[in-house]
Symmetry: C2
Subunit: 406 residues, 2 copies
């Protein structure tokens, strides 16, 4: 008789954003007359930029003609896209990354979730707390996290690195006696919107190189960085080629949440003994993945065109304006807020001692605004709440007005 993967039964609840989606659906069905404003899940709302739409149409036409049809993509992505990324995202910032160290995929969520497969089940992971749930959840499924403590909301075998107001939402280095093997970092951070300076990140790289750890660096929000001295890539740090893997997304900088494109960078000298992690990931890609669609890879290339850059600068600016509007609005109401400056996320302390889910229900039921409960991202997120800047400007303004009226 077959058996299931029992690790799945350890989950205390469903995937955070599935839970939120369900709650909102139930509320909406019970109150069809209410206009719900969704600032919860980090989904974009602006249409694809014209340069991207043009590239898609052109690629679709190619797919419709025998001479220019494209079947299976190369395992690791088309050279035209990998070379563009290497040049524009890395070499132009002084990062030493080659095109063949870039693996094109259908998004950073999949890559962040799948990367743990190439590591031993004995490895110990460390995560920021609060954090994007996929890092922990994918390790729960693999069996790396031990048992769940419902009281504390923590897994016995995970090293939590609290990110709180006290440390400005940037975690301390773990103790060397209790060093993790895999360290998930995400800056600009999801959910807190916090950033790390180049010097700060360099300390992590040095730590990882000394401790023999790998940093799994999620840079999905780098396009929102506005301040100087904030690294856009971990490969801006010395020695990162020996200890870091970086994830990037086209979802937030170019509105590809519904188009699906991302990439992972694994430097060739990142090795465990004489085995390169690059070769393991290439094997995984070749065996369990079949490439991102040609038309979507062409759309990705258009993101870096002169036209595309100009249009997307405007699009990101639109969301940044929303972020500032929410940040300023909440601040003026007396809320304790952070994030927003280098991020599309606004992180706020829930008022009047409400816990995160109480505030979620309060906002949903009283003013029909959807956010994300901080506790859904980890125990140190309790008492916090995330709002996103990815709504329309009109909805953003209205949401702030509604909260003001509470």
């Amino acid at each position: 008789m077959y058996k299931i993967n029992e690790n799945y039964s350890k989950f205390p609840g469903s995937y955070l954003f599935s839970t939120i989606g369900k709650k909102v659906r139930v509320y909406g069905e019970a109150h069809p007359e209410k206009k719900i404003i969704r600032l919860g899940i980090g989904d974009v709302t602006q249409p694809l930029a014209p340069a991207i739409v043009d590239a898609l149409h052109k690629a679709v036409d190619e797919m419709g003609r025998g001479e220019t049809f494209h079947g299976y993509a190369p395992d690791l992505g088309y050279a035209f896209l990998r070379e563009t990324i290497a040049e524009c995202d890395y070499r132009s910032r002084g990062c030493d990354i080659e095109a063949d160290e870039i693996f094109i995929s259908d998004g950073a969520k999949c890559d962040c979730g799948n990367i743990q497969e190439i590591f031993s089940l004995d490895n110990r992971i460390a995560v920021c707390d609060p954090v994007y749930p996929v890092y922990v959840d994918s390790n729960v499924m693999a069996g790396r996290t031990g048992t769940y403590d419902r009281e504390r909301g923590t897994w016995s075998d995970v090293i939590y690195m609290p990110c709180t107001a006290e440390n400005d939402f940037v975690p301390e280095l773990p103790e060397k006696e209790n060093a993790p093997d895999l360290i998930y970092l995400c800056f600009p951070n999801n959910p807190t919107g916090s950033v790390i300076t180049k010097e700060g990140l360099q300390k992590w790289v040095d730590y990882a190189n000394q401790a023999g750890a790998v940093i799994l660096y999620d840079a999905a929000y780098e396009a929102y960085i506005t301040e100087d001295n904030i690294p856009h890539s971990i490969f801006e740090c010395r020695g990162a080629r020996g200890c870091a893997i970086e994830f990037r997304s086209f979802s937030k900088n170019a509105g590809f949440t519904g188009l699906r494109l991302g990439f992972t960078v694994i430097p060739k000298e990142l090795k465990c003994g004489n085995v390169s992690l690059h070769s393991l990931w290439a094997r995984r890609h070749g065996t369990k993945y079949n490439g991102a669609p040609y038309i979507v890879q062409r759309a990705g290339q258009a993101v870096y065109s002169q036209e595309g850059r100009a249009q997307l600068k405007e699009q990101i600016g639109y969301y940044q304006r929303n972020a500032a509007y929410i940040f300023d609005g909440l601040k003026s109401m007396g809320y304790t807020v952070s994030g927003a400056v280098n991020s599309p996320y606004i992180w706020l302390k829930t008022p009047e001692g409400m816990n995160s889910w109480e505030f979620f229900d309060h906002l949903l039921e009283r003013v029909n605004v959807v956010g994300t409960p901080g506790s859904g991202f980890g125990p140190s997120g309790e008492g916090y709440f995330r709002l996103t800047a990815f709504g329309s400007y009109e909805n953003t303004v209205e949401a702030v007005e509604r909260i003001k009226a509470l």
Copy 2:
């Protein structure tokens, strides 16, 4: 110090089609004047049908306008596609499958590779021999296959079910004392092109229900079935809802190899104790996947439109004509051939006692035709060779002429 997943180091070589790709590339670079005809990897060559191109353009335009833009897709796929599939692929054939039992994905390769994650690492798998390499390789990575015997080309913990000329390339039921937990079946078969009758498949369903096994049924090639009494879906069999998961692809019936779309069907009553496999796969989808692109799901819907069906019937007919041409041509040369009738694959015995890779090199170097060595699919494939019908008609004719001239 972190460690890697040591299962990867157990592989005797690289992924079959990556190896072939590399060999062909090396040969092509050394002989740039030669025109290589590729009948190896099962990649299609005909352009997307007009109905699909139209649907893509329309969906791209929607993505370029604020009012019709689509962000993250629903976790399990858009209702418009799931309902169309449930109706056209299942209910119209008398199969009792609901739309919410269908999970849309970016292809059957990913689904076939990922499905093992929801099962225990203790489960024993059974595979046809020869077989599409992803089933075994994804289990090697997970650690379910034991040790590799280089001499025999087999894994110690895998149950191989030989498919040979003696059994008409349809495997026998495994012995009950040594029953597998997970049984991978693929009909029409890759690589042999063989099929199973409805009565034959019913025996497997009855066996699985008695033995407490799950059948992982890969029906990626069902569109090539021409004969009656050959099931297009395992859900045509009584009791399959209690023991089967089915994988489908848009790659071969609609030319989506470069567009990426597939789906997996998990009936809700398929349960291990009180845990439904549907809920586990939904959790995996929600946590580690972010949906197939909206535009590609719209293209998938067009596959089922009246126009789309007519155009694709012609496209499949084109490849079927190629299959018949290769089959007849080789037969007339005295080769022992099978497949082709209900499949885009032609399976032939290598001539003059050559082994599979010798024949691969022979064809590549002597007549610049690429096929796939049967031994790459498993030990019982040794001495066999696969050719695909997915080339252009002109290339197919030329390849057969070249082989004739050998």
